[in-house]
Subunit: 281 residues, 2 copies
């Protein structure tokens, strides 16, 4: 009755970007996935043309491809007892885009629901929604970081909106990042989700086990440290968000092998960019 | 075995804002809900203090309160046969924030999964993820509309960022809105989700039945017509996004009673604002 799925991540080459949030799920779970980073191939998918079995159209990558592993090579009809029997044809492939939708789809399949995995019924659904909520909050911060260097237009160069970017980045540092980090700090304090389970250290956002929310917060903090090194060091030294920085370190240790491998792409010209003039002076 | 839940929507008074996406779900489903719009009460919830049973902390409203309806008045322990038996104490109340997390939690409970409600197993999960994807895309557009009048800082006045807002709104009209509407147009063309079911008119984003994605797209188009009346009229007359405007009209008809009632708040000073200088000339 086990569902075996083949996963493909479609994302731009060379930058970690939003694809990295999906990549971290597979790496943390130790589940195999393949990648398509060929630009013409991605554009075909985004144009929603010539792709058999496409469902909802995609605004942007990352797109996750999902195919039932049992049927991939056999081309035979599924037995009724098979949990994947709802896959109608042997070659049917599903496509999902939008990072939060992909993460929420993957979480229960990859064991990334934190301690909520132990719950059932309404309690489990609520916990999954709260994990989704924390992911969405981290992804909102991710978007605000992107907008800090492109406050006027995504399609124009940074150099053409540098003055506005300086103002927006100042606001991001002064008002927005602290507000976001405070939410994660509270969630990790034991006033938040998971409650008792977290009081003995090794805290995660929903209990003591790593969830998609922890991976997402890790990646955003990691990217922020690249983009605003002076500012983030000051926050870390300040101690106000100690649990958030501990979580970042814990997840970093957990993903050590991947993070030190060649598969981990360096930050460059994606969401997280280092422009010294946007950092704290 | 039916789960009966009591729902409370926590949102700012006077503006439709992001609370409206949640409100529309209950109104479309004909399911009762109560509201808390008292500002000090909301601030208490956002500060994550003095609220018993709080779980994950909230970055912002809307927040959805969920309580098992069976136990609300009785204070008795649940029978094992009750589907809500996972609610541990009679007064336990759950809180969920982040619009996409709230909508995804509500969709299967309120019959708002479109034709995906007929599916099971992997196919249902994929369809739910695609509906989530379309919602997230519409909510991204909603956020970009907000940023068009606040490109530099949410906490500063519009009047202090009017010049930047003019540039950002011009980019929103020229590049962003058309790109978003194209995605919804394709989804409604029968190339998208739901496929055959939609070819005979009465199309919805996932099949022929209204889902959270249709409600969300409706609300964003509706708000855009308020914020950019000339521009949106031009797009409508152009005919390129005919299915999107038809969907808007269909959902408007479906929600007629609510939309014409006093419960429907007028647009004013929220996400959707009418600044003539940001509209098409």
């Amino acid at each position: 009755m086990t569902e075996t799925l083949e996963y493909t991540l479609f994302y731009w080459p060379e930058i970690p970007g939003r694809g990295e949030f999906v990549r971290l799920c597979f790496e943390a779970a130790g589940v195999e996935y393949s990648e398509v980073n060929d630009v013409p191939e991605l554009q075909k998918l985004l144009l929603n043309k010539d792709v058999p079995g496409i469902a909802a159209p995609h605004f942007a990558v990352p797109v996750l491809g999902v195919r039932s592993g049992h049927t991939a090579d056999t081309h035979t009809k599924k037995a009724k007892s098979d949990a994947a029997s709802d896959v109608q044809t042997s070659h049917q492939k599903h496509y999902i885009s939008q990072t939060p939708a992909i993460l929420s789809f993957l979480a229960p399949r990859l064991g990334l629901l934190g301690d909520a995995d132990k719950l059932q019924g309404l309690e489990r659904d609520v916990a999954a929604a709260q994990i989704h909520q924390l992911c969405a909050t981290a992804l909102d911060l991710n978007n605000e970081v992107h907008d800090s260097h492109h406050p006027i237009s995504v399609s124009a160069y940074y150099e053409d909106q540098r003055d506005e970017a300086k103002k927006r980045a100042a606001d991001l540092r002064a008002n927005r990042i602290p507000k976001f980090l405070q939410v994660f700090q509270v969630a990790l304090q034991g006033d938040g989700a998971g409650l008792d389970q977290k009081k003995d250290g090794g805290r995660r956002l929903w209990g003591s086990k790593t969830s998609i929310a922890d991976l997402t917060v890790f990646q955003v903090i990691d990217g922020l440290q690249f983009a605003f090194p002076k500012y983030m060091q000051k926050l870390k030294d300040g101690g106000k968000y100690s649990h958030v920085f501990s979580l970042h370190q814990d997840v970093k240790d957990e993903l050590k092998e991947y993070l030190e491998s060649e598969k981990r792409l360096p930050y460059s010209n994606g969401v997280f960019r280092y422009y010294p003039e946007l950092d704290e002076e």
